[in-house]
Symmetry: D2
Subunit: 295 residues, 4 copies
């Protein structure tokens, strides 16, 4: 398939390479051109603008940092919306707001284009190793057409809607709630460790017990990070984690569902930001609990 | 070893049977005598009171519902405190407050007896199948003397204190924080499912994604229970779960550590109690989130 | 002074009338023209667009529902930004986000115009009766020029910045925090009454005690509304109250300050929205506490 | 009337003096005898034990620090329960748990004595100046018999139960909820000031606006304390405030009503305790918000 790929950061580069490895034809664009050129050795072509990349593509895949970046690439000058051919599909892997996903659906549809949300779970290593978990929602035929791409980049693909197609934004809703599930583990460890440290029980032994109980890589990984207070370099920066919690809360507000635990996590993360932890790993939200306990 | 075992509820019966299977000599007491007599087939002797059971024992093991039950069995009329021989060890498997664990330590020590806290993680099936996780704290020699018992009842034993002995109450602290870790999963699922249901994403598919992500039996089990709204019969009653969250908060208060997430869970559980869910499984706390969202 | 007044809802009509009573020359615009024409009897002129109203004015005062309405009136087609004369002042009485206040400051300054934030405390009756409390921030000379207008519409004017001028958005910050202070009273009454009702103490007698203690009209007024469950007609609709709490939280997030109580109020209000209370008075957030308690 | 008065701390001394001024016959007891002897000049007799003080009294009034002190004075060795004459009334002014109030009701009734809860609002100055607000619940005839005493010590008396008598513990419930109402003001100011300070708005001007809005002595007094960060000497120590919030939460739990705002205040106060503020004024809970914001 002829694919335009836009956004070659840590996540996007790995994804694009896996598309190339699977034999797809990729035209890449990145704001910092060097990152796109790095893919030429893998067989990618480099475009000078999103519009140019999207120009002949059957599918345009975007992997960008946030709503603003997506809006710029889609609706900005030299954006893809104007250059995509009729019937082409825009697949967005980014973690964006459900509001923007709805707007993308409306705008692409208006132009005779298709829009599919396909946010991914996984860190850059997982992207590189083809181990992402892909959550997909969109019109059924568009989703089916892109399925080989999802297979090429992840270990498992979940398509919402029971085979009847689901509105794209629901995939973003699932992604945001999934990140909330992980953030909740961070806050939970933070509170438990703070209390236990004040009780004289050291985190490592408690973590061992929890690993026996939960037997989960998420608990093992983040538990160790928090127990050892090793928050740099960041796997996922706290400021980005906070952004995702904000988006989850915006979703919940739109849907008419209170999420008091998400609110709590947001407040703890804002306190972490106020203490200069924006670039640390988001698991450093645990330090808010430690500080509250006078540790 | 000569063991007195007191408290033959769902958990205690399984534990006592495993002690008998391992060849220990067990004298059992239960308020409802029939439950003790059920163990006679396995080789247990039955005592008429806690005091009588404890009378010749090297170790007195108690598995009781709450602080009040433990206080009654230890300090009440015909309690074990008065009848235990000097040098004997009281091992408490119950999930009790750290305050009571401290009192037990002081009172037994004053009488020339030893006290070891050994709370367990696991449901009745795990107790029966020798699959409990045992968390132990107490004077080193007492702990070592009882180690064969721990090996007989669980799949793994964690001894706090790095081989130098830790104050018994710290094991209760670890147990309470562990239950808090699980309760937090319940609240998290409750909020995520409520929001997703209002967004039109059904819980089962989200649960599948979470199972891929967390790969944890705790998430798989409770996630299904909550997704299917099957809260009866209760594996662990909400009113008992609330008790444990209260104890975790009391510990945190004593230690000078706020636990806002534990406070939130407590409030959600109180709301569940107010809606008549005390005897349902504690995972039914998720219904509080559903109700708040108008579901 | 020659004043353009835009936005003649419940609040704006009273304010505009008081400006006319004080002898100012007012050209009024309202989307629904009839509301503007109602002011002709008081001596106002009616304009066909915001631009036309602002055309010759020394001061343009806007009293609009939310950010979107202000953006439309200022930056939209026939908006005031393009038609205001150089040196004219835009005074915004609306409760808007601090982000928009910053944008207004930048855009007006760029055009050689001035911008002053002057949000007001008080209900429609207070607007009519010249009893508003006006909180002002902006460049000192612009503020001083407008002072007669503030005196004409309120009982008290607070100018931020100790006489050296403060950035306009700080007045919006003060207004949003003030509304948070009031919202907090609503939540507090909600929780206290719910608990007391379950304890068998009826709200009226407790309210009497609180009136003796706090001796505040805010407590007396909202306390009675909540005690009597009379939430319609709304003095201030819950959906607007929720909007203001969201804006307070956005401010706090921007500033790096967690506001857990504001988060709690937001969640309680979202639950109220989910139960169809958007058009009721915002004090009906108390019903969330009642429902949580099973009342 | 012949009154025994027990507990001559800052509050009790003022109350007892006002009883003497009103012409009542008072026999006083205090653990530290000197404080009782200080009342001899005002005409009081001094007793050597609670039992001795209560011995001939028609009414025994107690003003003690907490549940434990009341239990000691009532049920301890030389306690009043054993020495009170049949038909005598025990009036408790202390801020105690509703659980203890229920126990006092049961125990006194069993002995043919009466029990009335009469907690008071007000600081030591108010006690001295006869300006307390007294909240009363108990059997109607006992309450009526004591009414002259309530008139002698406060500016206003509220009797629960609409003239039919209310269970004594309901007065304690009202008192605890009243303290929660005040504590909520402290938390609200703490959050608002923290956000505004980070926004560059100084607390004093915001406080002025709030005083115009709320026009309440509670807001004026605590607002100033918090704006000026003057938490010593304490009017009411944070550790006692925390105790009362705990009791409010215990009441709410008993009644089946969640109080998430009370939970939040409790957590903020625990954090304050962890930072060594136990002896400061309880309004210093505002420092928790300041710290969370990195101030």
């Amino acid at each position: 398939m002829k694919i335009a790929f836009i956004g070659l950061g840590n996540m996007g580069s790995g994804i694009a390479r896996n598309l190339l490895r699977a034999g797809h034809q990729v035209t890449a664009f990145n704001r910092t051109r060097a990152k796109a050129e790095a893919l030429e050795a893998n067989g990618a072509q480099v475009a000078a603008s999103p519009a140019e990349a999207a120009h002949n593509a059957e599918v345009v895949m975007t992997m960008l940092a946030d709503d603003r970046a997506v809006e710029e690439v889609v609706f900005g000058g030299s954006g893809i919306a104007e250059s995509m051919i009729s019937g082409a599909v825009h697949v967005s892997n980014s973690t964006i707001s459900t509001a923007l996903a709805r707007r993308l659906t409306a705008e692409h549809t208006r132009r005779g284009q298709h829009y599919v949300s396909a946010p991914v779970f996984g860190r850059p290593e997982a992207a590189e190793a083809k181990k992402l978990v892909v959550v997909v929602a969109g019109p059924e035929t568009a989703v089916e057409r892109c399925r080989p791409m999802f297979d090429a980049i992840g270990r498992q693909t979940f398509v919402l809607g029971d085979g009847h197609g689901a509105e794209p934004w629901t995939a973003n809703a699932a992604k945001l709630c999934g990140n909330f599930m992980i953030a909740s583990v961070l806050e939970t460890f933070g509170e438990a460790f703070a209390t236990l440290r004040k009780a004289g029980v050291q985190p490592p032994v408690f973590l061992e017990i929890m690993n026996t109980l939960f037997a989960s890589p998420v608990y093992a990984g983040y538990g160790r990070t928090i127990a050892e207070n090793k928050f740099e370099p960041a796997g996922f920066a706290l400021k980005l984690g906070l952004k995702d919690v904000r988006l989850a809360l915006a979703l919940a507000d739109d849907c008419g569902a209170p999420m008091p635990l998400a609110s709590l996590i947001r407040d703890q993360m804002i306190s972490a930001m106020a203490h200069g932890q924006g670039e640390m790993d988001w698991s450093s939200v645990a330090q808010t609990s430690a500080r509250s306990a006078g540790l």
